[in-house]
Amino acid sequence: MQRILRTALVLGLLTGLSLSLAQVTLTYWQYDFGTRIDAMNQLIEQFNAENPDVIVVQETFPYDAYEQRVAAATAAGQGPDVVQLFYGWVGSWQRAGYIEPLPQEHIDHAWIEEYFIPMVESVKVGGEYYGLPTAVRSLALFYNKDLFRAAGLDPDAPPQTWDEFVAAGKALTVQRGPLFTQIGYGPGGQDHHLIRTVLMNQLGTPPYSADNREVLYGNEIGEQALRIWTDWQLVDEIGVFEFIPGSGGYRDGFINQENIAMIVDGSFAIGQVRNNAQFDWGVTELPTFDNGVQSNFGSFWMNAVTPRAYRDPAVLEASARFITFVTSEEAMQLWLEVVGELPAARSLVGDPALVSDPVNGPFIAGLAYAEATQFVDEAAQRQVMIDAFNRVLLEGMDPAESIMIAAQADQALLDDFDD
């Protein structure tokens, strides 16, 4: 009896050992967001089944603690092998060494540029790609058709130009004494992109030079973009910043309170609107000026490798294999169904079913002319634009003066990063 037990034990140990020798365990990190975790779990399950030599384990953290966790873990040589991050963080993350270039021996640059839409090139830093997305996002105008009807507007003819947008906004705004009970437009989390990337490009100048070393908006175009946007609140009175408190307040006001008639939001909001909105709603492409120039802000979360993945060639190869898997066409389809974000492959963005979809269609159309503005330090550059409009809205500064201050501060960030 004892001998049998002993043999079993030895055998058990040996098989365990051989398994652990053959298998690579990858740790994957992303932030907490119901549908994203769900989609990734499904992908991991498929990947683990198809790749018996690799086990991927997903760990997630609240959004607000995410960067802190990554900083602490990578500095201690712990944490993820493959990590998800917002494309705008590439500059600060690679400078701090949280992420390393994708290994070219496993992920070919020519393939990246052929397979993905051009937006992905915004994370090519110093000739190296730092990550690849499963999905991309663009902006569009969400509007409440019921409120349009109530205001005597045609719910099937949403604004096509910014003039029409302001006119509709006025019809949709309801005041009670000096306060608002309903607003036509709810400025919110995406509006700094709306000013910097969309309005400026529509008016005729990109915000940054092609090599991303020079701020180009310290001029009349920048001033005009800021003035038009702040006038919506100060002159046209069709909106209020922070109408509903919180970073998702504008979306909450649109979806749940039903007191915001129009918002500019990303395709990432589709799922939330679809699941919670108890009214008739629609999506339309971003309005333009009379010149008809279209522009959109594209962005994405991407999968990158950390220094930890480089500790062992087998881990690095497995990480690259996993990233290739989660950016495959099948993975993108699954992500679209579960999360609602748009596919990042050229082959999929032209899919007729997607283009003609009433909700996804406007976002897909927007992707065609969307630009993922390259940031060196997204957090600081976002603050620059928020301060620019707050100086006008709250301190009565002239947009001409405020945009110059912003351009200088932004330029200082670019210069600082080059050092």
Binding site: A96, I244, D387, N390
Partner: protein, 318 residues
């Protein structure tokens, strides 16, 4: 020959000596714990502040005092420093004054004192995040309770034909001039319960006989407070001032959560040093610079606390 008596002597420690040794041995455990998880990392942050940040120590570049020069010249740091000192200047005297006043009033009543104490203490044990969110809603321009009251008042005075009594709705957290005091009100409201409980405990420690004797000598209530309560409460007061000041200098949770879209805003007017440090460290991944900020914050707290102890901890004359 000489060793023997010595050995004997050392084995014959007095009881007090042996007790002291035991005490030190037991104290060593928390001391080692603190040294490893508190003091060592704190010292490390001094070191960190002299290098650029990279996860690989080999790729950190020594920059000396560069980050210190940078932060001394940085207007955002100046703003954060000014705000932080303002938070302390507002919240410390107001919350201590109110706390002491309420404690004295509570001491005068006997029925329901426990209930009142619990009510005042409740905000202190409520999570700062929840408090910040609720106050954020109350301060909201279009839907908040304060502006609702102002509008009701407006309607009322217009109804009775006195429109000049109307007040305009306020922007509160969206007003760069008002945002900081508005946040300070939240902090005072939250801390008040702590002060009340501390002062109640202090007041109960003052022997009744002093008051009785003074009353027999004909002292009025102000004299009782000035010459008995205040001096005998001095140690508690010092404790409260030092703790409240340190709390004010380290403000973070409330500020982060009360303006989530633009933390520390609008226009940096509610930004505290702790939040500034956090943003530099974790939103911008500049841990070297952030470490320099913590070192400066440490020095500020040290200096202020030493001054406070020097000024307030005088010998009390009875």
């Amino acid at each position: 020959m000489i060793r023997e008596p010595r050995a004997k002597r050392s084995s014959r420690l007095s009881l007090t000596q042996r007790e002291a040794i035991y005490a030190y041995v037991f104290l060593l455990v928390p001391l080692v714990f603190f040294a490893t998880i508190r003091f060592y990392p704190a010292l490390q942050s001094f070191r960190l502040s002299l290098f650029t940040w990279h996860v690989d120590p080999a790729r950190r570049v020594f920059v000396g005092a560069q980050y210190y020069q940078e932060l001394l010249a940085n207007p955002v740091f100046h703003q954060a420093l000014k705000n932080t000192l303002l938070y302390a200047a507002i919240t410390v005297p107001v919350s201590i004054g109110l706390g002491l006043g309420i404690a004295i009033l509570l001491q005068a009543i006997t029925i329901g004192r426990g209930w009142y104490r619990a009510i005042y203490f409740a905000p202190y044990i409520t999570p700062a995040v929840a408090i910040a969110w609720v106050w954020g809603w109350m301060y909201n321009v279009n839907f908040g309770i304060f502006n609702r009251i102002i509008i009701e008042w407006w309607d009322f005075v217009e109804g009775i034909g006195l429109p000049w009594l109307a007040i305009d709705p306020q922007r509160f957290l969206r007003d760069p001039e008002v945002a900081l005091p508005a946040v300070a009100v939240v902090i005072i409201w939250q801390q008040l319960g702590f002060q009340v409980v501390i002062f109640l405990a202090g007041l109960q420690g003052i022997p009744r006989v002093f008051y009785e004797a003074a009353r027999i000598d004909g002292a009025n209530p102000w004299q009782l407070f000035r010459h008995i309560t205040f001096p005998l409460l001095n140690p508690v007061l010092v404790f409260a001032i030092v703790i409240t000041t340190i709390n004010a200098l380290q403000l973070f949770d409330q500020i982060v959560n009360i303006n989530f879209t633009d933390q520390g805003g609008p226009l940096g007017r509610t930004l505290s040093i702790a939040l500034y440090m956090y943003q530099e460290a974790f939103s911008r991944a500049r841990l070297g610079y952030a470490a320099a900020v913590t070192v400066v914050l440490f020095l500020i707290i040290l200096v202020i606390t030493l001054i406070q102890l020097r000024v307030t901890q005088r010998r009390v004359e009875y």
